[in-house]
Symmetry: C2
Subunit: 486 residues, 2 copies
């Protein structure tokens, strides 16, 4: 997996950080945070926090003591050990887009289906630059709602051998996801062995969103309880579009983010001390004229840089970023907004990166062509964030002696020895001259991306899986679907 | 003008810098650099440098002593003092694309004309985010070659009131450019007063490219002599596509760049000690499979970050970056490659940024739509590279008290007071929902950009200029054109 050994780009002074620190302490202690779950309220009350109705006013130092119980970094196991990932430190892991109800394929925008879900899962499997297919890559609208989580988890488990994200629609859904995963990991040793292995090293990582501002909802908290109790990783994520879910000033949003993320993490550590957690951030802003969410904005870029520094300040792995855009189609705007998000993602040393491939139209659409654009961006960023090795030999004095002033290095010995690997080789970008490009149909990046994803789906190979395990998973899905009345 | 008060992103360790320092010293002293100009060779010989034929082997310490005579930063005057710029320090100035023989307008790619040159000049004048129209925004192929510099300079001087770049095709062209500019600045006080004013505070900044590797050509050096003698700013720029004009390793290209830029700067300081110079860099790579130049690559991004740090190491203003791309059309690739260049341009604290708007197809094409894409990027980057002000008030505690948990900030007092200016407002990007976007024609960014540039040209207003000055400039152009036989 990718290790980002480049320096972090840190933009907050010690003074600024101290001001933010005072801010979140004031928010959690004076205004408090709402938890729409009696179990959560009981636990927090038992820990001496001030519970009034759904509101909890916190002792900030108790929060920090809980946060200190969380591991600074952890491993996340895949069924193929070669695809297990590390979360935290200088490790960066990337997953596909999460949540879109629609897909775009060329000029067609339509409801997403289970077929689309499988296609995107296959694409995520086929590109090494993606560490995970993610979770809800798109909503399979043609499957029954109550058992959809079973279909998605089954597809993620069988079509990829990479780690994936757990369903968070409800507590029972979370339990089903854990069951299916323990079958998958147990192998011939059986489900209990799988469950034990998961408890040892988490296999699921799940997105627990805050209903910002300052409220944790019941279904999300039910899922949090299931996953934390099973020692599975959770990403506690304030979901903030500044101007709607937070004040319009970035510092206010940062403070709110800390208050939300840390209270969620403190609860997780109360449920199961030491369980793996991630400081999540989903921070952008709305267009104040139309009220539309906007992505790839200067404000979201700045917010991302700050939040990475803040997560490190609290010693926690950090989730944010991706290839976000408001654009409706994979055009120039989609290209630059995606990179407006992804470059700060790398500069901030983000550890768990959701929405890394396929995000379009403010996250409402999973785009086939956009998926390919984003894979190209991920590959380029990895190349750019690989530190130079600078030593005497790298200066190639001999090549200069060979070529001389005004000469050409293309045929030099130094070049011949390195030309295959010296530069990044693009997947999508074209540097063809105009004549060649025209001869090949004059295709823009989106049109070329169409061919690339189709080829990839064509050449996709399913990773091997023991037939007995697959059958046991299928039986579980069939049984649970029946129980759920679908 | 824009001041970049964000931290520099520095990626070279002290050890790495020391290795690069040893490298350029070895190159200039053991291999030397070629100067295809007897005047240059004579000057350098007189200074005790080892001249053999066109080759000069340098004492690196003499180079550093010459470099130390250059100002660390300087002002560049415009005919409208409000548009004068500062070059160096935390100042960043942006100019349009430079050099393309072709233009692209929608689906049409064709030879550039004087009409296109005027159009792009007008666009550069109309966007405050551009500090300069640049110089050869495109080649006006329908004007006579020998007097084309007169037409371009006249257009730049009359259609904008911002500073512009000097012609460098030959020594006489440079003299003509200086003459025209002294008429422009002299006003009623006359040409001599204009010339004196220019000597006091430079009005022209000109691109002197190295014929990399390690050779300075005669015409460029003739132009350098003219501008340096007149105390006009020069941007000494190694022109390196790694793999062709330098070895394929980035450290080797960096060392070569230093050797080339510093020898050019040392010569400029020998011609006129203290004349304003800029450490230039034009650094990308070729595709090793096809030999095509590529832009917006990971290697060029890394090179840019390193070179900014290197220029500061030598205490010199720095030119690089822009919105470069290999893409043939203003598509997703053009969007992300432009930002792949522009974001490092800001991270590196680049002072003079050529090719900031309109660059397409490896610099062969000036694109009308791409110009608008790039203005959007420039505006976004300026917003993103504006440090946050973080104080108690910015945390908006009162807004939280007003809104409460689970609430909505859109109507909050804190929001109402700030909603007009709190976030960047896009020129081109759309966050319209799908229905509204479809109703408006379902236009992608390129199609929307077409409308924007047409509107801008429609509403362009020529900046006022004294008719006597304009006439004197026109008379100069007419006379010189005749003398040049066009």
């Amino acid at each position: 997996m990718f290790r980002n050994r480049m320096p972090h780009y840190e933009v907050l002074s010690a003074d600024a950080m101290a001001t933010l620190d005072k801010g979140w302490r004031r928010l959690v202690s004076e205004l408090g945070v709402e938890f729409m779950s009696q179990r959560a309220l009981d636990l927090l009350a038992a820990e001496g926090q001030k519970v009034e109705g759904d509101n909890v006013k916190f002792d900030p130092d108790w929060i920090l003591a809980q946060v200190a119980k969380a591991p600074r970094e952890f491993d996340l196991q895949a069924r193929n050990p070669e695809h297990s990932v590390h979360v935290g430190g200088d490790a960066m892991a990337f997953g596909a887009v999460y949540g879109p109800p629609f897909v775009r394929q060329g000029d067609v925008r339509r409801d997403a289906t289970m077929e689309d879900f499988r296609n995107f899962t296959k694409l995520a499997q086929s590109f090494p630059v993606l560490d995970s297919a993610g979770g809800v890559i798109c909503e399979p609208n043609d499957t029954p709602l109550d058992s959809r989580h079973l279909d998605m988890t089954y597809a993620l488990a069988t079509l990829t051998d990479k780690p994936f994200m757990g369903n968070v629609v409800s507590g029972p859904n979370a339990r089903d996801t854990i069951e299916l995963t323990s079958i998958l990991l147990g192998g011939s040793a059986g489900r209990e062995a799988g469950r034990a292995s998961m408890e040892q090293t988490p296999a699921l990582i799940s997105l627990i969103n805050c209903n910002s501002p300052l409220r944790w909802d019941d279904r999300m908290l039910d899922s949090l309880f299931e996953y934390a109790e099973a020692n599975q990783a959770v990403v506690l994520t304030p979901f903030i579009l500044m101007g709607a879910m937070s004040p319009v000033t970035i510092p206010a949003a940062l403070v709110q983010q800390i208050a939300e993320a840390l209270t969620g993490i403190a609860l997780a550590q109360t449920i199961r001390p030491g369980c793996p957690v991630v400081f999540g951030s989903f921070l952008s802003n709305i267009d104040m004229q139309s009220g539309s969410p906007t992505f790839g904005t200067p404000e979201s870029g700045m917010g991302l840089l700050c939040t990475g520094q803040i997560a490190r300040h609290f010693g926690l792995p950090f989730r944010s970023g991706g290839t976000l855009t408001s654009s409706q189609v994979p055009d120039a705007q989609a290209g630059y907004e995606a990179l407006m998000t992804l470059l700060p993602t790398f500069l901030a040393g983000t550890n768990w990166v959701m929405h890394s491939a396929g995000w379009l139209e403010g996250g409402l659409v999973a785009g086939y062509e956009k998926f390919i654009v984003d894979v190209e961006l991920l590959q380029m960023m990895r190349a750019e964030f690989t530190p130079l090795e600078i030593d005497e030999a790298s200066l190639a004095f001999g090549a200069h002696e060979e070529v001389g002033a005004g000469g050409h290095f293309l045929g030099a010995m130094h070049t011949m020895e390195r030309f295959r690997t010296c530069f990044y080789r693009p997947l999508l970008s074209s540097s063809d001259n105009y004549e060649k490009w025209s001869r090949n149909g004059g295709l823009d990046a989106a049109a070329r991306a169409s061919k690339i994803y189709a080829d990839r789906l064509e050449s996709y190979e399913q990773p091997p899986l023991d037939e007995a395990i697959r059958q046991e998973m299928e039986e579980f899905v069939v049984r649970r679907r029946k129980e759920l009345g679908d």
